[in-house]
């Protein structure tokens, strides 16, 4: 079976700086894959490339959405990629601060709705139905993620951990087949991290969504991931199951000087 995401030979140059150097990576249906590496290794750049925020210099990004054929997505606009079924979160939280929690999630529904200007003005039966559905669907997502109690609060007033989870909820609302999480546990305490761990597994198991995540919390990475890719200086230096990665001397060397408690 085709991997749902296959990145081949991906490179990204910023002027003279090579941020990504011939990177290969793949994610299979139903997998939780982690991308790790020291700070500045190019992990977020990698995310930005595959989600259309940057256009990579070289290489191929191929996706195979369920019930669809292989498609090359280099250089597509971010919104098109989200529409195709890859949704992401951001390392530094990027919610819509002055919108309510529900509205934040409803923005995620945007690309699955169709009402236009005329529809919005005349509010025919179809548009009203669609809008009601959007509200109930979004609320359902919030319940799943455990944010229903905040539904009408402004996103900016949410506690930190809840903001991180709202980012996930918003991404889920776009109905992705692959969810990209950029350091979802950053700044969380151990209990919140544990809850996040359970949430991610639940998303994979019940929603049938595959997950690719960047994370620094090694405990979380080791317990969650089916496979791990390790990057350093824009290159892939290792890949494999958590146990292999843990004992891989190259990885340990790359992390030398950094915290690495597995």
């Amino acid at each position: 079976m085709e991997p749902i995401l296959a990145v081949k030979n991906l490179s990204m140059n910023f002027g003279g700086l090579r941020a990504l150097d011939r990177l290969d990576l793949d994610v299979n249906q139903g997998e939780i894959v982690a991308l790790i590496g020291p700070n500045g290794a190019g992990k977020t750049t990698f995310f930005n490339c595959i989600t259309g925020i940057y256009t990579p210099t070289e290489g191929d990004i191929l996706i195979t959405p369920p019930r669809n054929s292989v498609q090359r997505i280099n250089g597509l606009k971010p919104n098109t990629i989200t529409e195709l079924g890859m949704a992401r979160t951001f390392q530094n939280i990027r919610l819509f601060p002055k919108m309510t929690v529900l509205e934040n999630v409803m923005i995620g529904r945007h690309c699955r709705l169709s009402a236009g200007i005329l529809g919005a003005v005349f509010q025919g039966k179809k548009v009203r139905k669609e809008e009601e559905r959007a509200v109930t669907d979004s609320y359902a997502v919030l319940e799943k993620i455990g944010l229903a109690q905040f539904v009408n609060d402004l996103a900016m007033n949410l506690p930190y951990g809840a903001q991180r989870r709202l980012e996930i909820a918003r991404a889920l609302a776009t109905e992705p087949f692959l969810l990209l999480l950029d350091e979802p546990a950053a700044g969380m305490n151990p209990q919140e991290t544990q809850e996040l761990n359970e949430l991610i597994v639940r998303i994979r198991d019940t929603e049938k969504i595959s997950i690719l995540l960047i994370e620094h919390d090694m405990k979380l990475v080791m317990s969650l991931s089916d496979r791990i890719f390790v990057m350093d200086y824009g290159k892939k230096i290792a890949q494999g199951a958590p146990r292999e990665i843990k004992s891989n001397p190259v990885v340990i060397k790359a992390y030398l000087g950094e915290e690495f408690h597995a």
Partner: protein, 403 residues
């Protein structure tokens, strides 16, 4: 202790402002007769104003910084009052009835002059609501909004002059041409960041004005176009008074129509996309919203209203020239949106009425109008970026589901 420190700081500020304004406020040279006029009184005034301004400004700013950490529940704000009224069904019905009564009886109770002022104010309400789509909702700082207003006005004037097209035909044409120009301007600036956008739109507004001023064969240049017919009503001959009242009710109708449309848009899929775009462009795109399309619809819709406003303006004044469409008009409309509350319909309506009617009735101060507008823009941004009546997001009620 703190108070004396504050007074010292304020005194210092007062001295600084006295120094700062010395050449411009105190000295005036009459270059014809070669006399220097020394206006020491101004220096005293600046000193006093500087002292209190600095004192109050700093204490407000401290309050605001504190307030950001903990919202003060005791503040009585206009916004809370409005919310209370709109929240309570009986109160809101009563308020609506009072407003409706006033609106209907206005042209019969007041003079022609007053009605004319009110019509101008209503045109600004419409323009404010239109610009609110672009600036307030989508967060795109458009300083060339007046260009679309000019386009609408000239569209009616010229179409009428050359082809004898009437007001009611020109109104939708003005809307369409406005939208077309909105897209025309919107398209090239799609990729620009906010601040560049402001300057480019400002440039665009000036281009349109300069073309109207210089292209005599097309627009008759600075002398403008006269004898533009007022709106017709089934071909009746109307006296000036009748016709003015007619335009008044027409404007009321247009404002209600605008409020209706903007209100529906604001809480729709498109409206949410605009707000998301304003809040965070990158996240907005990453959530599957087409940035280009969303920006263009905002520009086009905003311009549609300016185009219609222009047609009505031309029909009301029966004479237009480029001098009515300077950058200042754009800034006034921006000021309306900012003062009222970006994204808030009630806010923009009240902002327009306050900013347009007040200077008309305080004639003595009308020369200070633009100065005050400048102050309003700065002060609002620092102390109340949400405006006097900030936008309130819609809330939803859900039943707790049993598990």
């Amino acid at each position: 202790m703190i108070l004396s420190e504050e007074i010292k700081k304020s005194l210092l500020a007062a001295v600084w402002f006295m120094f700062l304004t010395f050449p411009i406020m105190v000295i005036r040279v009459n270059t014809v007769q070669n006399i220097v006029e020394w206006r020491w009184k101004n220096m005293l005034l600046v000193g006093i104003a500087g002292f209190f301004g600095s004192f109050l400004g700093r204490s407000f700013f401290r309050q605001k910084e504190k307030g950001e950490k903990k919202a003060d529940p005791n503040t009585i704000s206009v916004a809370a009052l409005v919310q209370k009224i709109t929240g309570n069904q009986r109160l809101s019905r009563l308020a609506l009835a009072v407003i409706a009564g006033f609106v209907i009886s206005f042209p019969f109770a007041f003079s022609l002059y007053q009605i004319n002022i009110m019509i101008s104010a209503l045109i600004y309400v419409m323009l404010g609501l239109g610009l609110n789509i672009v600036v307030g909702l989508a967060g795109l700082l458009d300083l060339g909004y007046v260009a679309f207003y000019a386009v609408g006005a000239y569209a009616y004037a010229l179409l009428n002059h050359h082809f004898g097209i009437g007001f009611w035909t020109a109104l939708p044409i003005g809307a369409v041409i406005g939208a077309f120009f909105g897209i025309l301007l919107g398209y090239p600036v799609l990729r620009l960041r906010g601040d560049y956008l402001a300057i480019v739109t400002m440039g665009f507004g000036e281009i349109i004005r300069l073309i109207l001023e210089n292209w005599n064969a097309f627009s008759r240049g600075p002398s403008g176009i006269a004898h533009i017919p007022r709106p017709a009503l089934f071909g009746w001959e109307m006296s000036l008074e009748m016709s003015t009242k007619y335009i008044y009710f027409l404007m009321i109708g247009m404002v209600l129509f605008t409020i209706f449309v903007v209100n529906r848009l604001q809480h729709s899929r498109i409206g949410r996309a605009w707000i998301a775009l304003r809040e965070d462009e990158i996240a907005c795109q990453a959530m599957g919203i087409d940035k280009a399309k969303t920006k263009l619809t905002a520009f086009a819709l905003g311009a549609t209203w300016a185009g219609m406003g222009g047609v009505i303006f031309a029909a009301k004044t029966t004479f237009i020239n480029p001098a009515s469409f300077t950058i200042w008009e754009s800034v006034i409309i921006l000021c309306i949106v900012v003062l009222g509350g970006m994204g808030s319909i009630v806010g923009v309506v009240s902002g327009a009425l306050v900013l347009i009617l007040l200077p008309e009735y305080l004639r003595a101060f009308s020369e200070y109008r633009m100065l005050v507008f400048g102050v309003i823009l700065v002060v609002m941004m620092i102390f109340r970026p949400g405006g006097i009546i900030p936008d309130v997001r819609r809330t939803y009620q859900f039943r707790k589901e049993e598990h």
